[in-house]
């Protein structure tokens, strides 16, 4: 099969408009006769469901949570990018496009990224019209802040809860359509299989998580919006239930999986504290606007800090190593995430880490508090305020900006980050890889679409901060609703899809067999035991730095864990009831396959690019070294059985509007 990205011809700035003008559309009367299934209700799935229903399609939306409002988009903190140029700092669609391609280390599809930048401006308008309470300045206009990897302020935010507010906006748009009967909502339902009829996606099999009932649902098209697969590492900043199952099921049914090894390890997370840990918590990257990252300059000091014999506040300014400012003077603490994460790992590996595990660096707000305090004192007209007063005023400003994050940190660590620097360490956060899609966001299965984090399309090998929300909403509000019409225009005479066909019957049988098999093992180890074991291998050998030897080992080891899982997993309870262990088991079974493909992809890509760092491919200064000659392509894997035996298809990446350069943030 040949990969056809279906990127329209013509100048990059005209592609999307031209495409919209020339693709087929479905008339209003016909839309009423067409059903669309959307799996996942985060920013991508929620906004897509609402928009498709507004247009007149009949939407069935599915989520495993008890309400669509709980999808993990809700946890995004920092903000959403848009090329509005409200700050008059020279921002433009082109600049957002350029930053995103560069930030992705030149491994994204140019045309998709340009379209993303183009529609970014509409997103902000749309959300404000929906009543999303973005932060505003005293003139009543929208406020912006800056994020890593860029030199302008284009990030819109709602305190530290931007994802929550945007998701509740999409949720409210969904609610309006649910009330009208245009969206039928299936809460506490999990998609467990895709159904294809005549090669086209025509429905899904779902499991009702309350009753255990296996259900058939048909539609003319299926949209997967189920998020990323960071939980393959067990410990990540994802929600406990975030999973790869929907994506993996369509992969097994013929959808190619692209760049699985591109994972974002986010630099500012709360360090892990012990074996009991079930998840990691992110502290928004926006903190790097004002926080300065450092470790002690002397190893002896670091040692004393680890033993709690020395406090960070007692380390003198000249004995601190602000290593990001030192290594990257132009971008400083605002280098992209992959660069910041690796730099933290480098310092900790060299013995400068600051908590008892040796895996943490400081994020210090003292400078910012003082600066803001002085500014505020000036505004208030205080002449010669005391240091105490300045700190007090400064803390109030910092609290206004990041209050909820500071509170969250204090709850977890039991230390006051206003008084002592935060400790942070990188953690798995986002997966740039995902299901391969063409320009229309359709997978290699006709009628099966994939949007948001679940697809691979816009972030290349590294995502810039505040771009995930932008992509989720762009796909759902402004891209898919148009492009899906092109495909559905062939379906206006099809009529309702029956669920009584052999294809639905077979798919249902397959699901029931798998569930029975899992429950009948009655082994000795819990589901979490396998998940943790897989996560350790992934983090150790396919985490922040990777090499051939480690990846070969990982592939073998994952195969072993998978084998053990299918002979020794212990799942209590039965199928026909709420059974949380059975839910987890299904998800972990899929992670155990994805993990192997992930390692295989990392093994094959012998260059370093963005979040994918191969130790064999680095510059003398230890920066990621790309190999454009051999690797300027997207890896799209075709499933044939054993994950590591998948067939590699290459989509060549062409850069006509941006010159390929080695990334530099110095």
């Amino acid at each position: 099969m040949m990969l056809d990205s279906k990127v329209p011809t013509g100048p990059i700035a005209d592609k999307w408009t031209k495409h919209k003008n020339t693709i087929n559309v479905v008339g209003p009367a016909n839309k009423r006769n067409i059903d669309i299934i959307v799996v996942g209700t985060g920013l991508a799935g929620g906004s897509a469901s609402a928009s498709l229903a507004e247009m007149g399609y009949n939407v069935k939306a599915f989520c495993y949570q008890d309400s669509p409002r709980r999808a993990h988009s809700i946890a995004a903190q920092g903000g959403i990018n848009a090329a509005k140029n409200y700050q008059n700092d020279g921002d433009s669609i082109y600049r957002l496009f350029y930053d995103t391609v560069k930030g992705g280390d030149y491994r994204a599809r140019e045309a998709n990224v340009y379209r993303l930048a183009e529609v970014s401006v509409n997103i902000i308008d749309q959300c404000v019209a929906q009543g999303v309470p973005f932060a505003r300045d005293y003139g009543g206009l929208l406020d912006n802040r800056s994020f890593g990897g860029v030199l302008v302020s284009r990030t819109f935010y709602a305190r530290g809860q931007t994802g929550q507010q945007l998701l509740l906006g999409a949720y409210s748009a969904m609610n309006r359509q649910i009330a009208k009967g245009k969206i039928k909502m299936y809460n506490r339902h999990e998609m467990v299989e895709l159904v294809k009829v005549d090669g086209k996606a025509r429905g899904i099999i779902s499991r009702n998580l309350v009753t255990g009932e296996i259900e058939r649902h048909s539609a003319h098209a299926v949209v997967i919006a189920s998020g990323g697969y960071g939980n393959v590492f067990f410990l990540s900043t994802n929600a406990m239930g975030s999973n790869v199952t929907a994506s993996w099921k369509i992969h097994r049914n013929g959808a190619f999986f692209a760049n699985p090894c591109y994972t974002q390890i986010h630099p500012t997370c709360v360090p892990r504290s012990g074996e009991h840990q079930s998840k990691l918590t992110l502290m928004s990257e926006s903190l790097r606007n004002d926080g300065r990252i450092w470790v002690p300059k002397n190893q002896e000091d670091a040692e004393l800090v680890r033993q709690k014999k020395l406090k960070p506040t007692d380390i003198k300014e000249e004995d601190r190593d602000y290593y990001l400012e030192r290594r990257y003077p132009a971008f400083g603490n605002l280098v992209p995430r992959d660069v910041a994460s690796r730099a933290a790992k480098e310092r900790c590996d060299a013995g400068f880490g600051v908590n008892s595990t040796g895996e943490a660096v400081y994020l210090d707000f003292a400078t910012a508090i003082e600066r803001y305090g002085k500014e505020k004192a000036l505004i208030l007209g205080l002449s010669s305020p005391s240091t105490q007063k300045i700190i007090e005023l400064g803390e109030a400003v910092v609290s206004e900006k990041y209050g909820n994050l500071f509170q969250m940190y204090e709850q977890i660590v039991a230390e006051n980050p206003y008084k002592t620097p935060m400790m942070i360490y990188p953690a798995v956060h986002y997966t740039m890889g995902g299901v391969w899609v063409d320009y229309n966001l359709m997978t290699t299965i006709p009628g099966c679409y994939c949007i948001g984090e679940a697809n691979f399309s816009d972030h290349g090998a590294n995502r810039l901060g505040a771009s995930a929300l932008m992509q989720g909403l762009a796909d759902g509000y402004f891209v898919l609703p148009y492009t899906i019409g092109d495909y559905l225009s062939q379906d206006i005479r099809t009529g309702p899809i029956s669920t009584d066909s052999k294809e639905f019957f077979d798919a249902e049988e397959k699901v029931k067999e798998t569930l029975d098999k899992m429950l009948s093992i009655k082994g000795e180890k819990t589901v979490d035991y396998f998940h943790k074991k897989l996560g350790k291998i992934m983090w150790e050998y396919a985490g922040m730095a990777r090499n051939k030897e480690g990846l070969d080992y990982a592939i073998q080891e994952i195969k072993n864990i998978r084998k053990e899982f299918w002979t020794n997993v212990k799942i209590p309870g039965s199928q026909n009831e709420m059974n949380k262990e059975l839910e987890k088991a299904g998800r972990v079974a899929d992670f155990l396959e994805l993990g192997e493909l992930f390692a295989k992809d990392a093994l094959e890509r012998t260059e370093s690019a963005g979040g994918h760092f191969r130790e064999e491919s680095q510059t003398p200064e230890g920066e990621a070294l790309r190999n454009d000659e051999d690797f300027a392509f997207t890896s799209a894997w075709e499933y044939i059985g054993e994950p590591s035996e998948a067939i590699l298809h290459k989509e060549k990446l062409e850069f006509n509007d941006i010159e390929l350069k080695q990334r530099s943030y110095k």
């Binding site: 709980r70 973005f134 509740l168 209590p572």
Partner: protein, 250 residues
């Protein structure tokens, strides 16, 4: 830490539930409450027993999925905290901890500690939105300035996570804090004005239909709300409601 857990067990919505006792040991004070529950479940599975079903997802206090009544308090003893953010350092070695589901007729138990909060969704569907279709042609986001104070207050109201701690803690099982938060968010924004009257009337009507009680100004909801949603919003909703019903044109 060693603890005695008293946990509500109930097979399904129709079954009769009861409190079971589980001793548990070697819990780290740094672990979260739900991580402690993970340890309990691991142990129960190992012993061939059914693990305790409970709702949870993001484990960082924002999705609103977790919902436990701990020692008679919604989300446990800490203020401004969801159960998933509660840490075991808030308890003492040797403590006995009672863990129950939310209790309200309108939030029926599905299993063990899992309750059905779909009533909340239905209230939102009755009017918790602004009727604007997706289009690339809404007016520019900065076309209508909104005073910072109003935007901030709208945000404070919008911070509600829909966990239903307010209902669980209220002696009347009132959902007014939840409903008021949404009504107030839109009432502070010019975009919300157009449908303000219908919104408040329809949402309140649905709230009553779901069987939630009324507010008698006890204020427990505000105290237990993990996001600190203010009781003032209930007053604001009442004002909106009176405005809508006294001078409703339709």
């Amino acid at each position: 830490m060693d603890l005695i857990l008293k946990v509500w067990r109930q097979k399904d919505s129709r079954a009769k539930g009861k409190i079971e006792t589980y001793p548990i040991s070697n819990i780290s004070e740094h672990s979260s409450f739900l991580e402690m529950m993970d340890v309990l479940n691991d142990k129960l599975i190992e012993d061939g027993k059914e693990p305790v079903a409970f709702d949870h997802d993001c484990r960082e206090g924002i999705c609103g999925m977790c919902s436990m009544y701990i020692n008679g308090q919604a989300h446990g003893p800490s203020r401004g905290t969801t159960t998933c953010q509660l840490h075991m350092r808030s308890f003492n070695d040797g403590d006995t901890i009672y863990i129950e589901p939310w209790r309200s007729k309108s939030l029926p138990v599905i299993k063990d500690l899992v309750v059905d909060r779909s009533a909340f969704d239905r209230i939102q569907q009755a009017g918790g939105f602004i009727s604007v279709n997706t289009s690339g042609n809404t007016q520019d986001a900065n076309a209508v300035p909104i005073p910072k104070d109003d935007a901030d207050k709208a945000f404070d109201a919008a911070a509600c996570i829909g966990c239903a701690a307010c209902v669980a803690t209220c002696k009347n099982s009132s959902a007014m804090l939840f409903v008021a938060a949404k009504v107030s968010q839109y009432s502070y924004l010019p975009q919300g004005e157009v449908e303000a009257k219908d919104r408040v009337v329809n949402m309140v009507e649905q709230m009553d239909k779901e069987g939630f009680g009324n507010c008698t100004n006890t204020g427990a909801c505000e105290v237990e709300c993990p996001k600190g949603i203010s009781l003032e919003y209930i007053a604001r909703m009442n004002r909106e409601y009176v405005k809508a019903t006294l001078i409703k044109e339709k």
